[in-house]
């Protein structure tokens, strides 16, 4: 579904992505993990088009999207939820979702968008908050909104950037259920996460990054047993 080949990006002297190779298979939930500063968020920014790579290629559904703008990627079915929730504060929850529903898929009418929004509101449990201004939501509700807004663009592949961060364990498990339901509806998911219980509960496959490089790949058990991964997480701090 998504194929990343030799993707590289430097910021001044810092290499944020070094020849990253990655494949996301249709229908799977793929986790990208790694210590702070490993280049995970840079990878998502490269994938959603907010920053341009210095080298390498990104292929989505068989098309080269390396140089496509963020909006074109969205139209092709690439959805994204941000780590730091960025709702449109002066709009209600419903209006926030309308933006994604109207523009995520070109040619969506106001009527069709309203239906998509209503479905997503019910799916994500935001019914009671639908007409609340986004600036007044709690963190959990903000996170739900972030996810819901990405879902409204009707993505084929959903990129989730630490959407569980800051949630209490019970809330995180609720969010896990939501992501599972999303996948069940036919959406492929790539997510970045720090919380290992969440990774274990969700991921079919795990990719580990460190210093802008992919250092391991496999099932949760495989990467958890990998020596390089243990070193990346524990070695330097121990």
């Amino acid at each position: 579904m998504l194929r990343v080949a030799n993707l590289s990006k430097r910021f001044g002297g810092v290499v944020a992505a070094r020849e990253v190779n990655l494949e996301v298979r249709s229908g799977e939930i793929l986790a990208v993990i790694g210590p702070n500063g490993a280049g995970k968020s840079t990878l998502l920014n490269l994938l959603s088009g907010l920053i341009r790579p210095d080298a390498g290629q990104i292929e989505f559904l068989g098309e080269d999207i390396t140089h496509a703008s963020p909006e074109v990627r969205a139209w092709k079915g690439l959805g994204r939820a941000f780590q730091i929730v960025q709702p449109f504060h002066e709009m209600t929850v419903r209006e926030n979702l309308m933006v994604g529903a109207l523009y995520g898929k070109p040619g969506t009418s106001l009527k069709a968008a309203r239906q998509v929004v209503q479905q997503v509101i019910e799916l994500t449990g935001l019914t009671s908050k639908a007409d609340t201004e986004a600036g007044e939501l709690t963190l959990l509700e903000d996170k739900r909104l972030e996810l819901a807004r990405a879902l409204c663009t009707q993505p084929r592949l959903l990129l989730l950037d630490e959407v569980m961060a800051g949630l209490r364990p019970a809330e995180a498990m609720e969010a896990v259920e939501l992501v599972k339901r999303t996948r069940a509806s036919g959406v492929t998911v790539l997510f970045i996460e720090h919380l290992m219980p969440v990774v274990r509960a969700l991921a079919d496959r795990v990719v580990v990054m460190d210093y802008g490089q992919v250092i391991a790949e496999g099932s949760y058990e495989e990467v958890a047993a990998n020596a390089r991964v243990r070193e990346a997480y524990l070695g330097r701090s121990a």
């Binding site: 959603s48 088009g49 907010l50 969205a74 941000f82 449109f88 933006v99």
Partner: protein, 303 residues
């Protein structure tokens, strides 16, 4: 909506009211207030995409000159459309060069544009240069109230454009662009195109108002038509009335122009002091302008 209908009714019947010796003055002030309110409504459209323009005085001036120069050949209404089209075309060129800039930088670019336009009109021959340009009245003076009703029509058009846009698909794109450009793009909003289209609609309406203004004052000079004062007024009125709304700039424009005219009569140039105080008080105590006085409105929905 109600308010707009009431105002329209008042505007239509105003020439028929028994105003005695004040009639000509009232009509003249009202006509000016309609045009400036139209300009403020036009400015607010672009503001909804998060861009602060100081070029709207220049669009108004370009519309005025273009309409004045083309009216003898084309007739009144086509000339007004030419005025709007010239303003829209110049906004397209300015926008292609500057709309990727944000906030302060865009504002400075539009300020520079205004100065360039004034200088061009000042130095050109066919505009009358610094001597100025005499303008024919609307419809060659055949209808004494022609100019007045054209101003009413311009205000109706600007109000309708503002209302329709706040109920359209574009409304969501504009509000999203203003509140978070990167997020909007990731959600599929083509923000550059949205800004450019809005800029052109906004400039067209400003140019339209400028054309009617030319046929009202009957004489244009680059200093008046491209003065920074009007660019400032175009943004002060929506801030005073309530940004990103239709009622705000509409009501704000009528109040500010009336107040300004009345103060000018009473205390001459001292009106600027009162004007300043009113603005400071508004910004301090009514962060959403006059709209703060109405029932609290939610977010991106506009009256």
């Amino acid at each position: 909506m109600m308010l707009a209908a009431v105002l329209l009714f008042l505007a239509l019947v105003l020439p028929g009211l028994p105003l005695g010796q004040w009639r000509a003055f009232a009509l003249d002030t009202a006509q000016f207030a309609f045009l400036i309110s139209g300009l403020a409504l036009a400015w607010d459209l672009l503001a909804r995409t998060g861009q602060l323009s100081l070029a709207h005085g220049a669009f108004f001036g370009l519309g005025a000159y273009a309409a004045a120069l083309s009216a003898p050949a084309l007739g009144t209404v086509p000339a007004l459309l030419v005025g709007g089209a010239v303003a829209a075309l110049s906004s397209l060129l300015l926008g292609l060069a500057t709309l990727r800039l944000q906030g302060m930088y865009f504002a400075i670019a539009t300020l520079a544009f205004s100065e360039v336009m004034r200088t061009l009109v000042l130095k050109a021959q066919f505009t009358g240069g610094s001597i100025g340009l005499p303008v024919q009245p609307a419809f060659g003076g055949a209808y004494p109230l022609g100019g007045y009703y054209l101003a009413v029509a311009v205000l109706v058009i600007c109000t309708l454009a503002s209302l329709l846009l706040s109920r359209s698909r574009l409304h969501y794109a504009m509000a999203a662009t203003r509140q978070g450009e990167a997020v909007a793009r990731v959600l599929g909003v083509p923000v550059v195109r949205v800004k450019l289209v809005t800029f052109m609609i906004s400039a067209f309406l400003a140019g339209l108002a400028g054309g009617v203004y030319a046929m009202k004052t009957l004489f244009l000079s680059p200093y008046d038509a491209f003065g920074l004062g009007r660019a400032v007024e175009a943004l002060v009125i929506p801030i005073f009335g309530g940004l990103y709304t239709t009622t705000g700039p509409l009501l704000g424009g009528l109040i500010i122009v009336s107040l300004e005219t009345w103060l000018r009569l009473r205390i001459g140039e001292g009106y600027l002091v009162v004007y300043g105080v009113v603005l400071v008080l508004t910004i301090l105590f009514l962060p959403k302008g006059l709209m703060s006085l109405f029932a609290r409105r939610k977010g991106a929905r506009h009256a």
